[in-house]
Structure formats: C-alpha cells, structure tokens
C-alpha cells in the first residue's frame, strides 16, 4: 500500500474540548519535501491540527504518523514521554510569539537543546550555532539577548533554534502574524529559502500571497473540517466550495481595507 510511503500521515484526527468538537475526522498526508499551507478563519481548528502533529495539543481520536512511526502512540506515561521527546526532536516548531528563551543569549537559545539532548561538545555547539544563525542572517547578533532584537530578528532566531535540532519536518504556527508589516518579509525570505532546500513544511498562515508563492498545496479548513485542498492556483483562483470563496473574499477585502 501507499500508506507506508506517506511522510506525514494524519488519520481520522478528532479533537473535542468537552462538548465542543474542534477537529472532525480529518485525514490528510504530506509528502517528503512538500510545503503545505493551512488557511482558514480563526476558530477553524488549523492551529489545533498543527499542534496535534507534535502532540502539543493531544488528539482525542485518530493517529498522526511521521516517516512510518506513530507520534501519538498509546503508551504508559514514562514510555510515552521518552517516545514523544524523541519524536519532537525530529519536528521543529515555530510559534506566533517566538517563545525565545529571554534569559539566554541568541547563541545559547540555539545550542541549549542540541547540547542537552544530543550531548554535543561546546565547540560543536558553537559551530552549529554559527552555521544556523548564518543561515537565517543573524550571525552578527549571536551574543545578543532576545530583548535586544526586533520581532523579525527574534523569529529568525527561533527558526534557527528549531533547525539546530536537524528536524525532518517544520511546523509554522502563524509565524508572521505578530510581526509589524515591515518585518514580515525578512521572515518570509528565510522560509522561502527553507522551501528551496526542500524542507518539509506545514505552515498555518493568514498570508495568502505567501501561501500562493511558496506552497505546493493549500488546505482550507473551516469549523474543524478540511473544506477544500489543492494547488494554490486552484484553491485561490478557482475554489469549488462556496465557503472557500466566501473566506477568500472576506480576507481580500480585509486586506484592501487595511491598505487604505
């Protein structure tokens, strides 16, 4: 079967908070090297789905598989902790509010996890920090503290921090939503470069232009279900579902209003 070949495989994902069902039987897969955008109105469940992938928000039903291994395995607590920590090392995540460690320098933000979890030496860690920070254009800020950086710079460091664990998959949870408009582009450029390097990425975003220009596939979610998915050219220009059309119309008019 093709099942085994699916790189990221979400099977019948279901999530409820009491009575409220926020994910309703979602199944979707992502190929290795594929870049997928998840769009949709707020409350559609897109962030919840993304956070379910590395089990930050555990599903109440269904399975998530990465590269042939189930992430949300049903294990006794201790075994599960060991398993999930190993899985999360393979999945990088970037947050809307960066979540850099304010008490650590840029260098230590990047090297903390590799040093602690992979047991690399200080010299290796330094080389790793320099390599990753150079990659996101932040090498000259290596000895700064997060409080001394702009939002865009913080987010680039956060990306470098995630990449330093050499993940197989990167998750972006509205990575540019908290940024001033003029700082969005520098982060987008870093994400574009990752795309060119064929990093597998799942991107929850409100930026339709970015989704259209960078992603291979766009998934439109609403009220806990996948309403429509396909290449950006189809979803953005010829959406088949009325809900998608309505969302895009609203979103574009919001943009227009914002531009006035």
């Amino acid at each position: 079967m093709t099942e085994a070949n699916k790189f990221v495989d979400i099977r019948h994902a279901q999530k409820s908070y009491g009575e409220l069902e926020v994910l309703k039987d979602i199944s979707l897969s992502v190929d290795r090297g594929e870049i997928v955008a998840i769009i949709g109105p707020s409350g559609s469940g897109k962030s919840t789905l993304l956070r379910a992938i590395n089990d930050l928000d555990p599903l109440t039903g269904g399975e998530v598989w990465l590269d042939g291994v189930q992430i949300n395995k049903d294990l006794p607590y201790r075994q599960y902790e060991k398993h999930i920590n190993a899985m999360r090392q393979q999945v990088g995540m970037v947050f809307q509010h960066f979540n850099l460690f304010p008490h650590l320098s840029v260098r230590d933000n990047v090297t903390m996890a590799p040093k602690m979890l992979k047991g690399i030496s200080d010299a290796e860690a330094n080389a790793l920090a320099e390599e990753q920070l150079k990659h996101v254009g932040m090498l000259e800020r290596i000895d700064y503290f997060p409080s001394q950086l702009s939002g865009g710079q913080k987010q680039r460091v956060a990306i470098a921090r995630a990449l330093a664990m050499k993940p197989k998959l990167m998750l972006f949870d509205e990575a540019t939503s908290a940024l001033d408009p003029e700082l969005v582009e520098e982060v987008n450029l870093v994400m574009k470069r990752l795309a060119e390097e064929h990093m597998t990425m799942i991107i929850v975003t409100h930026e339709m232009d970015f989704a259209a220009s960078v992603c291979d596939r766009v998934i439109f979610m609403d009220k806990g279900v996948v309403v429509e998915e396909g290449p950006p050219s189809v979803v953005f220009q010829n959406p088949t579902e009325e809900r998608t059309r309505e969302f895009l119309r609203k979103h574009l008019s919001q943009y227009a209003e914002g531009a006035k």
């Binding site: 990088g92 460690f101 304010p102 996890a113 409080s147 921090r161 995630a162």
Partner: protein
C-alpha cells in the same frame, strides 16, 4: 549621667568580630534559604504527594511559629534526640530553613507566572518536562524574584540577631558582652545598630549589582 562613647574603641575588636560572625551567618543562611527555596518550590509544585505533603507541613510549621522558638527547638530541643549541633550550625539551619519557606512562596508564584510558551518551546525541541523546568522555567522564575528575595535577605540579616540567644557571638551578643563589662547599653547598642546599617548597605549594593546583571536577560 551623660553618654560616653569613649568606651567604645576599647571594645571595637569584639564588635568587629561580632560583625564578621553576623556576615558569616547571614551569608550561609542566605545561600541555604535560596537553594532550599528553589527545592521547596519545585517539590511543592511538581513532586508526588508523598514528598509534597511533608514539605507543605514543614512550610506551615515554619511560617506559623516564631523564629525564636524554631531556633530553641533546633539548638536545645534536638539534643534530646541525640542531635547536638554547634550553635552556629543550628543558627544557619534555623534561619536558612525559615527564610527558605518564604523564598519558596515567591519562587512558586514566579514559576507559575512564566509564560506557558516557554515550556512549550522547550518541549517542542524534545526536552523532557524536568529538563525544561531546569533550563528554561526555573532560571526565569528565579531571575524574576531576585528583588523580593533580596528583601527577604535583608530581613534575614536583621533576624540574625536572634541567634545571639543560642550563644552565637554575633554583633548583638558581642555588644551585650561589651555592655556587661561597661554598663553602657545605649552606646554599644547604637554602635551595633550602625554596623547593622552598614552591612545592610553593603548587601543592598550586592543585590543591585545582581539585578543589573540580569536586566538584559528579561
């Protein structure tokens, strides 16, 4: 009879040795109260109930009873159980644990106030909860409570006078010694007060330096 400070210089060496003991007992107790405070806070928040309950009981005991009584209990009371501690050690344990309980309250609040995103970010990198607490959450919590912990340490310095009653010849007891010989209580207590104030200033300077050093990491 007027005041006569001319008797003071003759006992200055006694007083200065008292100052040194006061500093020694304050520093040792402060260190114990700081690390003990972190340990109690983490236990109170995260340990299984079999550890958490004794720590809660202990905290209740230390907050609900007078420090003076605690010192008596540790120094005189424990002898009955065959634990005969030197006065200095008993003083450090009493002061250190007493203030550890107060520090622990501060640190617990600060741990709970650290942004949830910090724990999440560490967990998504693959850290265990313990690793995330140790490297990410607790350092930030401790950094955030340095000013109020500093206030506790100044209170500790002043309460260190209580260990004079179990025979540690710190500043207060040395002054009493000098008074016993000269019958000049006002002069020597005033001098002692002055020295407490000077040590206090020194401590505040150190605390300010620590606060400045951590300012960047906010």
């Amino acid at each position: 009879m007027g005041l006569d400070f001319s008797v003071v210089p003759g006992y200055l060496d006694t007083i200065l040795i008292g100052v040194l003991w006061t500093i020694a007992i304050t520093v040792c107790s402060a260190i114990l109260s700081f690390f003990g405070g972190i340990l109690f806070a983490v236990t109170a928040l995260y340990a299984p109930w079999i550890l958490r309950l004794p720590v809660r009981f202990f905290a209740w005991l230390f907050m609900g009873t007078p420090l003076l009584l605690q010192l008596f209990l540790i120094y005189f009371g424990l002898v009955e159980l065959g634990i005969d501690l030197p006065a200095f050690v008993a003083g450090v344990i009493g002061l250190g644990l007493h203030f550890a309980v107060y520090n622990s309250e501060l640190i617990q609040t600060a741990i709970l106030a650290v942004d949830k995103g910090q724990m999440e970010a560490a967990r998504t990198l693959g850290c265990s909860r313990g690793q995330a607490l140790r490297k990410v959450v607790i350092p930030q919590a401790v950094r955030d409570v340095i000013p109020p912990i500093g206030n506790n340490m100044i209170a500790l310095l002043k309460d260190s006078a209580l260990v004079s009653v179990i025979g540690v010849s710190e500043l207060t007891l040395s002054s009493q010694l000098a008074i016993g010989r000269t019958y000049r209580p006002f002069e020597f207590y005033a001098v002692a007060a002055l020295f407490y104030y000077i040590v206090n200033l020194g401590m505040e300077a150190v605390l300010r330096k620590i606060e400045r050093k951590t300012a960047l990491s906010r």
